[in-house]
């Protein structure tokens, strides 16, 4: 029996050695790089084509690993923890500092290999730098947009070219519901109510949580925001909270949205196509109050490319990264699969080839014109978001008055932030 156990332990050791990976430079000829991203077919197909082209020109094999959004974050965290992460990884911008803070998981982007001059320095400083080192590159520019159904507005007697203000959002917006009790102006699932709360807080107080973990607003200011959201419900501008709560984080699956019972929705340009589905929609700008501290309209990289620090060849992966963001052929193949490219070189190629989608360009320009300051990493922290969402849920279900919601929001954020 003892002998059998010894054999077993030896077998286990052999196995664990076989699985253990380390950072080592491999001969390019034997090298197979792995790249991981999430998306739909409109991203998978061009990305795979671009990778094929890279293999054809350089001889370096690249395996594309692609998935949907669900479980993607869990997947990369597990792979990073286990040392099995792909060489080149697409991540979402809010994860960047959280992942960097957990140790040396990403390699520094070497400006000798990747041309960084094609990127806006502010974008690199604001979103891609951790402790003074550039550790990521933006894939494209992403901004908030307000999708609107012009035909529905016209039907309700609203000028489709209306410039939205916080006042006319109520006075005009209610016309949609007044005309047809099934219909509402603004689709707002619980997560969207949170987005609107954040926009209001940015305009009233400059944000929710600041870079030093401080709460940026007073109870009176939050009450003002909740009061306003209450008016949106009372006037039938937004559908009742209970009606949309089932589609939390899945706004686009709501049959009421798909079938055109709601006329407008907050969105990101990068997910605009998914949110629109089969509907024919236009984009417009957000209401901004006079004397607003900030606009609350967000602009950030669509996604980031990072290089795993455990890559078999960081050098070769950086070359691949440079190809993905700066190469002219790659730019043409990739098109706007990751939004409007941030690299000026890639953007020039698309402009020249005239393959930019008009609505995407319009929405991006509208967003950039309105863009405010980025949210702090604390405000984007998953536990902070969860805490905010819980208070908004209780408010949405009528368990809290605007005043109570404001006070609970502060106490709940305080205890969450203290824990982090």
């Amino acid at each position: 029996m003892k002998k059998a156990l010894t054999i077993m332990i030896a077998m286990l050791m052999v196995c664990s050695m076989a699985f253990a990976g380390g950072s080592k430079e491999v001969d390019p000829e034997d090298l197979t790089l792995r790249m991981l991203w999430w998306g739909g077919d409109n991203r998978h197909t061009p990305t795979l084509a671009a990778l094929d082209n890279y293999t054809a020109t350089t001889g370096i094999k690249v395996e594309g690993e692609y998935a949907g959004w669900d479980g993607y974050y869990q997947r990369i965290v597990t792979q990073l923890a286990g040392g099995t992460a792909p060489d080149l990884i697409q991540i979402d911008q809010p994860w960047f500092s959280e992942l960097c803070s957990r140790g040396e998981v990403f390699a520094e982007i070497d400006p000798e290999i990747v041309d960084l001059t094609t990127f806006d320095q502010g974008f690199l400083d604001g979103y891609c730098t951790y402790e003074g080192k550039v550790m990521a590159l933006p894939t494209g520019v992403n901004v908030n947009t307000l999708l609107v159904d012009r035909a529905m507005l016209e039907d309700a007697g609203i000028d489709p070219d209306i410039v939205w203000t916080w006042d006319n959002l109520i006075t005009e917006g209610r016309k949609v519901h007044d005309k047809d009790p099934q219909k509402y102006l603004l689709q707002a699932t619980p997560d969207h109510v949170k987005f609107w709360f954040e926009i209001l807080m940015a305009q009233i107080a400059g944000g929710v949580v600041g870079p030093d973990k401080e709460i940026l607003f007073t109870a009176d200011q939050a009450e003002q925001a909740f009061d306003y959201i209450q008016q949106l419900y009372d006037n039938g501008v937004m559908p009742p909270y209970q009606q949309t709560s089932l589609f939390y984080q899945k706004m686009y699956e709501d049959p009421n949205w798909i079938n055109g019972n709601y006329a407008a929705v907050w969105s990101w340009v990068s997910s605009m196509e998914r949110d629109m589905g089969q509907r024919d929609l236009d984009t417009t700008q957000f209401p901004v109050m006079e004397n607003a501290v900030d606009t609350g309209v967000l602009m950030r990289p669509s996604q980031l490319y990072v290089v795993s620090s455990t890559s078999d060849s960081v050098t070769e992966t950086l070359k691949l990264l440079d190809y993905m963001v700066n190469d002219e052929t790659a730019a043409e193949i990739l098109g706007t699969a990751r939004g409007i490219p941030s690299s000026s070189k890639a953007l020039a190629v698309l402009e020249e080839a005239n393959i930019l989608d008009a609505l995407t360009v319009k929405a991006t320009n509208e967003g950039i014109a309105q863009a405010g300051a980025p949210q702090s990493t604390w405000q984007m922290n998953s536990e902070v978001i969860d805490a905010m969402q819980q208070v908004i849920d209780e408010f949405g279900y009528g368990r809290l008055t605007p005043r109570e919601a404001a006070e609970t929001m502060i106490s709940s954020l305080e205890s969450t932030l203290a824990r982090l």
Partner: protein, 292 residues
């Protein structure tokens, strides 16, 4: 001699592959998670030993108490619901009717589909406000509630998904019913027993070992339930479906507090263990085995 040694270890070779899987995929994670439950492990980066702090924190965590309450409510609805439903259907399907095998197969289908994501999505559309169920109810003049959007109804509606997957319990009951000697019923008939009397005095006592088995298995599953609450309601509305499994997932795989989540799992393990022992103790009085 050589041959003898070989023979001695031949058996290990046969079970070697299974053992390898057991050690690497089951025992190793089990032991590791026990160790992690005493650390502040967060997936990436090291794990520092923090003694029983996770366990102390958990008992002061309002989310823990809330999810425990929701889970107990769920177990109390879903387990008896499923077993009673399975038993009723098994009694019907035990009749000698034409084409009965077809019905037996049909009733088992929901269990094959299982608690998959697709089914959960389907249930969302069935029970949403203005969904199929409420439309059907409105035909007979009933204004259905917002099944999944109202905190009062959501947990019950989620439990229905579980109850609906009664197939495997039903099959066990069916097999058990077939085992009961018909002579018992014939004797009862002669004594003039009613159908109800026959059920409570013959069928149920004879089936009691199967009831026990089903209760234990279903309870273990129900305590660990995750998919419907995650896919259909995400724990809402107002955390009315915030099951323990959901809290575990959120802590471990959304916030990556793996140490804390490991401690949560071991507490769940202890809870399930205690209830299983209690049920077995209780069963000594009420379960009749054929050879007693």
């Amino acid at each position: 001699m050589k041959n003898k040694t070989l023979k001695k270890y031949e058996g290990y070779a046969y079970i070697g592959i299974w053992l390898l899987g057991f050690f690497t995929l089951q025992l190793a994670p089990l032991v590791t998670s026990f160790w992690y439950s005493f650390t502040d492990f967060e997936m990436i980066g090291g794990a520092d030993f923090i003694n029983i702090r996770n366990y102390i924190d958990i008992f002061h965590d309002p989310d823990f108490l809330l999810s425990l309450k929701v889970t107990f409510a769920y177990v109390l609805i879903a387990v008896p619901g499923k077993i009673i439903f399975a038993l009723i259907v098994a009694l019907i399907l035990a009749q000698k009717l034409r084409g009965i095998n077809l019905f037996r197969t049909l009733y088992y289908i929901p269990s094959i589909l299982g608690g998959s994501v697709a089914i959960s999505v389907l249930w969302r559309y069935l029970f949403m406000e203005g969904g199929v169920v409420n439309n059907l109810l409105s035909v007979i003049g009933i204004q259905g509630p917002n099944w999944l959007g109202d905190p009062k109804f959501a947990l019950g509606t989620i439990s229905l998904v579980t109850i609906w997957q009664f197939g495997s319990s039903m099959l066990l009951f069916l097999a058990g019913i077939k085992q009961i000697p018909t002579t018992y019923y014939e004797a009862a008939e002669i004594d003039g027993a009613t159908k109800l009397r026959k059920f409570f005095s013959i069928t149920l006592p004879e089936l009691s070992p199967i009831v026990l088995f089903n209760v234990v298995m279903q309870m273990i599953n129900a305590f660990q339930e995750f998919t419907p609450a995650y896919v259909i309601t995400q724990g809402g509305p107002l955390r009315s479906t915030y099951l323990y499994g959901l809290m575990l997932y959120e802590t471990g795989f959304e916030f990556f507090h793996m140490g804390y989540a490991s401690a949560l799992s071991w507490i769940l393990f202890a809870i399930i263990m205690v209830f299983t022992i209690l049920i077995f103790k209780f069963s000594e009085l009420h379960v009749h085995y054929g050879d007693d």
